[in-house]
Symmetry: D2
Subunit: 305 residues, 4 copies
């Protein structure tokens, strides 16, 4: 049996000796003031035990990591509507989401890119009277923390400057793939992107992807084993901006990163793991977070390849 406590401790010791590379995201003004040298790491086993080191109790902004939660919740409502409006293929474009969206007539390549998550947000607005409330309830059940919520300042900060997301929304509206009000959809999107969790909470939250949904309450029974495999497959091929292939090799686990510096990943049937370090590399993924997960995967021999 793996001694996860020892492994996490060793990994933190290792990455703490690394030089400080990368820099904190600045495109959302409110995120720019984060302490760059924070580091947290937490692991939650499917059979119960949990482990954590460093700043693993401190909350940070999930940002794109939350796209996985929004997608999962949408799949509990109407999975076929989701896959009619969003693809499942990697996008392979570091920079030009609008280009592909225009050529493919408003159907985003997958739900991990902004355009896809905006469609998911529109679906949630259609499905629920209080979509934000539903999403918070989902996040609270998964994380086991009743006070998990979003950061209003971060949400406001992103909302004010979200011109590119408005461009995506209006283009998709023109193609008929956004049904509701653009600003309402964007409000929900910026709020769920501003969800704040600690590494411990995030590892617990992703556990349902590692145990194929067994830990879910009956309310979310629509998240079947098949649907969870699809979410994992999408995370592996599309979860890391333009470094999905690199992450698949270095870490070898399905996962999702966010510009807040967090990464969550799962080893099916074994564990969920979350890392946090705010300094980002060129592709927008946490430098030390990636390295920590690579080490965890190597030391636990858990790469799926």
């Amino acid at each position: 049996m793996d001694d996860y406590a020892q492994i996490l401790s060793d990994v933190m010791a290792l990455v703490s000796r690394e030089p400080a590379e990368g820099s904190v995201a600045t495109y959302i003004p409110e995120l720019a003031c984060i302490e760059p040298d924070k580091f947290g790491l937490a692991l939650k086993c499917v059979d119960g035990p949990a482990f954590a080191v460093g700043d693993a109790q401190e909350r940070f902004s999930l940002q794109s990591v939350a796209k996985v939660l929004a997608l999962s919740l949408a799949l509990t409502v109407d999975a076929s509507a989701v896959w009619a409006r969003v693809g499942v293929e990697p996008s392979g474009n570091p920079f030009n989401s609008l280009v592909q969206l225009e050529y493919e007539r408003g159907i985003p390549r997958n739900p991990m890119i902004n355009a896809g998550a905006l469609v998911v947000s529109d679906l949630l607005c259609e499905a629920f009277e209080d979509p934000l409330g539903e999403l918070l309830a989902f996040a609270r059940e998964l994380s086991g923390s009743d006070d998990v919520s979003y950061d209003q300042d971060v949400a406001d900060s992103e909302y004010t400057t979200a011109f590119r997301n408005r461009a995506l929304l209006n283009l998709m509206r023109d193609f008929g793939n956004i049904h509701g009000d653009v600003e309402r959809t964007l409000q929900l999107y910026t709020k769920f992107s501003a969800l704040a969790m600690s590494c411990e909470e995030l590892a617990r939250t992703f556990l349902f992807l590692a145990d194929h949904g067994r830990c879910l309450s009956p309310r979310y029974a629509a998240l079947t084993k098949e649907r969870i495999k699809r979410i994992n497959a999408i995370m592996l091929t599309s979860g890391f901006y333009d470094e999905a292939g690199e992450f698949a090799f270095r870490v070898g686990l399905p996962g999702k990163s966010g510009v807040g510096g967090g990464i969550a990943a799962v080893c099916p049937d074994r564990f969920a793991v979350a890392a946090w370090s705010p300094r980002l590399g060129d592709s927008g993924n946490s430098v030390l977070g990636t390295q920590a997960l690579a080490e965890v995967a190597r030391r636990t021999d858990s790469s799926i390849f």
Copy 2:
């Protein structure tokens, strides 16, 4: 000397024998109810005389033809600001304005495509407290008709469904090339696009481009001969969506078309001419309007080539 009255009359007789090809624009709902077989043609000489046949006194929606007026007015305010924010090269893309805009970081290729005219609209909003009033005053002076105005129903109809223009505006806002409020800029844009004129009024309006500005009042003295040559050059290379090259050959005059079925063109030092026929070809240009202008140019030997 050309007998313009005879030529216009002959041309109308000629095109009236043509089969009814093409169809009325439908993307702006309010435009779809236009009578498709209307036909007007008017010509105004730089030295005074004016001629008209058919429905040349009936007003129609200028749509993109009005982009020339917006550009001209912007050039009276700050020409260097215009050319810092909009290019002068043809776009060569029938379909993908967003693509080029993304690759070229928010600088539209020229002021005759939507993206470029939206930047011009933003410039007018910055320059004037009442940009619409200024534009109406300009259109009224040029046309000689004090009651020239925009059609509120057409403007509303376009505004409500202008999702693609909102996508363009927000993308350019993200790149920093739209400075003001997106909705205010769009309001002005849809209103000046809804300007309504008759062929007679439109030929008079474009006369300043044929006489290099001599007919303008001192208020618009900034429209120098050099600037007017630039406007004419841009119309020739970019005035007809993806048929600029074809129009340059068939007609051989700088001009601008609109989806309302109107086309205005100029023969430098000789005349301005306007045609109207609502049926559009595949590229969005009036089928009979183009044919009528080709015949006028041929019979007056006025192609610039």
Copy 3:
């Protein structure tokens, strides 16, 4: 323990009841005359046993499946040269390999697309005096069949009509990423694409990817566990043209398909599996081959997700 013999037999019975969908590839004239209703399936365990049903002893043209062998051989020569000249990210473009290649200045996105495999071919031409001989030796050792070879007619047929590959080669030559003679590189490429194997041979051939290289002779010791994980990761994100995401979900195993109708896949630490059915779906992958592998994965619970 899984009863693989029973599972393979059941899966063949299942797919044999399916309607005949998809059609045989025609772009290489010589491939068009294949019997469309052939079906073979073979599985080789890392601990020895092998199983096969249907036409699993009949050879077919590997086509793109052979890209994995070319890449593997190149990695035994100079892995850092490979990754300096070819990327590891999914391409996400169903159609426009030249577009991406032009924007990314001649560096193909990954070695599973044509452009990437052509660079690999150029690398092999640089590294070996007799690159084809080396590749055949590699294929023979892996497959355990001394008479595995390429089909000269198929190679000729593809070579004669390979204009798009010549376009790719010349574009990359212009960018400096093809070093040797374009026609020599293309000769090697069309020959290794014309490698012919049976499902049994192909399953044996891919075994080194399932057992992390333990079955390889010392000659290929450079194929370390780490390098093999990278190959598997690339197959998962990029092995199925524009259906990588769909295959990752439906089957959940790293693999590679070819327009000859073959698919090879691996379940790390358990087995390699090969299916063959010449009818292809819209994205160029074998319809029944995919379905068969999906069933094998489901019944052996071997999806990596």
Copy 4:
């Protein structure tokens, strides 16, 4: 009447005071050794007189200027075949000819870009047993110099390194828009691009475009007034790489530039003019050549706008 002799002399004096900006083309090795400060200017009137200053008797490499001759000759053979295989619209892409060619399925936007001129070259190879001989005969008749020919070293130099043109040719061959042997077409293309003329010869050569073909011998009677207007229209919208709009404004004459530093232009019904200065600006057009023509056009009041 204009005193052309004085104007040319004044213009040369003017540009000779300009600082030396831009640099000689280097992508064809043989062109890189040209003396950068050469300057020639020649003008030929439709009614006979000719004028020249500076190095106007010295020959230089026509490069893309020769595309106009190849197109004109092809139009004497089969104009409808030309327009079925090449468009007439500006391309609007500074850099990505392959992109547009791929999206538009092998039909080049116009005959002034490389792809279009390669199709023209293929047409000439189809039409004539000795296409190069025909082209030389055409160039000699037009220029009035029996010894006009191509520079073998320049042609060889370009041919050896013409990988991008080979990419274009093979891509178009794949789409069926190149019919003959790729290398033969490329040979002809590099040879006619290496045509060498002086400014005096070039101005005479372009005279047929200024006088609508009246100076042509009966052998080229197929170059009707209509066809010549089309050539002029194409030069205006597409003759200057990504500076067509800028040239249309600054000079206001249809013309064509080449990376040898030459530019030829025409004022319909008045004159043809040729300038040569090897230093090129960012878009590949001669810096002083453009400036000289702008001055000539201004001082002769010959802008068509």
